[in-house]
């Protein structure tokens, strides 16, 4: 059985090398000049106290160019009396794709309107994917996301949890878009138009 001799396929972008490129050394020198030039330029920057790299020293240095839409931290809203608006219904924990929310519910018979309240509400930021589904799932507008980025990175993942105390820092009274208590349906429409 005869075999056809192997013919190398020619591509449309076949490199065309002249004698200059084929003689090897000039092109190597050109490459060394490029990398050496980059080295000297960056080195000069380092020597004069500037930064000669594109890398960010995370976490000592955070980026300034986070997107305007970036939401990096959760906020638990409060009622005017200071108690968390959360009713410990576990919907955020259920919808969370990374399963980072842990809620322990408590019972308060004195508060007839909201007898169920969270004793513990903790979020593991080492696993959170910041998708915002918890905010969408919440029926009580108890969890929102703020623009700030928590300064959490450390050597120990156990320090990357935020508990109820750190998250409850915001009272929505001053929020014009969502007044509290919520206006009854149809009441505020005349004002807004």
């Amino acid at each position: 059985m005869s075999r056809k001799p192997h013919v190398r396929k020619l591509y449309w972008n076949e490199p065309e090398m002249g004698l200059w490129e084929r003689s090897y050394l000039p092109e190597i020198v050109r490459g060394l000049l490029i990398t050496g030039g980059v080295f000297l330029r960056n080195m000069a920057k380092w020597m004069t106290g500037r930064k000669g790299a594109l890398t960010t020293y995370y976490p000592e240095e955070t980026r300034w160019d986070y997107a305007a839409a970036n939401r990096g931290k959760h906020v638990l809203t409060r009622r005017p009396d200071g108690t968390p608006q959360c009713i410990a219904c576990n919907m955020c924990a259920t919808v969370c794709p990374a399963k980072v929310i842990e809620i322990e519910a408590g019972f308060d018979p004195a508060d007839t309107a909201h007898p169920k309240f969270p004793v513990r509400f903790e979020i593991d930021y080492s696993r959170c994917v910041f998708c915002g589904l918890c905010v969408e799932a919440c029926p009580e507008d108890a969890i929102r996301m703020a623009k700030e980025v928590p300064d959490l990175p450390s050597d120990d993942r156990r320090t990357m949890w935020l508990a109820k105390e750190e998250l409850l820092q915001w009272q929505p009274q001053g929020d014009v878009a969502k007044p509290y208590p919520p206006a009854p349906p149809g009441a505020g429409k005349a004002d807004r138009s």
Partner: protein, 379 residues
Amino acid sequence: MIADLVIALVFIGYAISVLMGFGTILTWVERKQAAVMSDRIGANRAYIRIPGTKVKLVWWGLFHGMADGLKMLLKEDFKPRTYDWYAYAVAPWVVFTPVLLVFAVIPFGGALTPAKLWAPLAGFFGEKSWPMQIATLDAGILIVFAFSGLTIIGAMLAGWSSSNKFSLLGALRAGSQMISYELVLALTVLGLILIFGTVNLDTIVRMQSGTVLGFLPAWGIVYQPFAAILFLAAAIAENKRIPFDLPEAESELIAGYFTEYSAMKMGLFMFAEFIEIAIVGALFTTLFLGGYNLPFMTDAGFAFPGGGTVAMPHGAVVVTQLAVFLLKVFIVCSFQILIRWTLPRFRYDQVLTFAWKFMFPLALANLCVTAVAVWALRA
């Protein structure tokens, strides 16, 4: 006799500390230089905390070398169930030891006269002066080639005794590549031997201390610029570094002939590679860059071509020569690292084609031209 022994011990201690220092520093230089070349920061997280305080010394990542060494010492020394454990255990040392031995014949300074350094030393050392070189051997360059040839055996032993196909392939590649390039290496140096008429490295360096045409330093690179380029290329190939790192091509052979090695045994291979960078730098400096000589500098001081002379005390001359040698070696090492992070790897057949069909004829042509020129100038 005792004085000779003391001097020899001092030189050996100096040489070993220089080589180990280069081996450690070069791991850091390689990382940092690669990082700066590619707009990165490089290793900068290892630190030493001053005990009792919260002060962390980072020092631009210099401690990463120590962290690496510690890691390699503490890691599990995993051994394959090979049928030749003796060769397996011996191979890293066969690679590592000749690399150190090569430095024995390289002169790292001019003549040292202890009596002139400090007068009370004359009582012990007399007025004798020693060349700063561990072994003043007439066979100089031949010893270098003899010992650097031994590392091939180490690589082959490592690949064979691992009983791993990747290792064996790597060892075969190492063997064929290193033997091919050793030929080119020797041929390029032959031109220099023709010009200087000796293989004694100390004499070669001394002959490079003059000037050519009145102003150019009489360095080997001035006589043989073409051979210098060929020598550097062949030496990098001999050291199995990118662009010639076929024996350990990660994407093809995992780690080549030392795939099965772990912990400090693997560390020895890596360390030998880094020390060999320094050795190649020292050889290139000695043969082509005038060794410890600064231009226009002699053992007495500076003598400029215009006629001006600056006399220097013996101590200053010795320190200058040692420092100049180290600086030149460091620059050549840095240049090798620049090459390593610039050029992509060859294909395996291209490496051997390059050696036999490109560099070998060029080295031969260089040798012929040199021989004719030397003959014409003598006649």
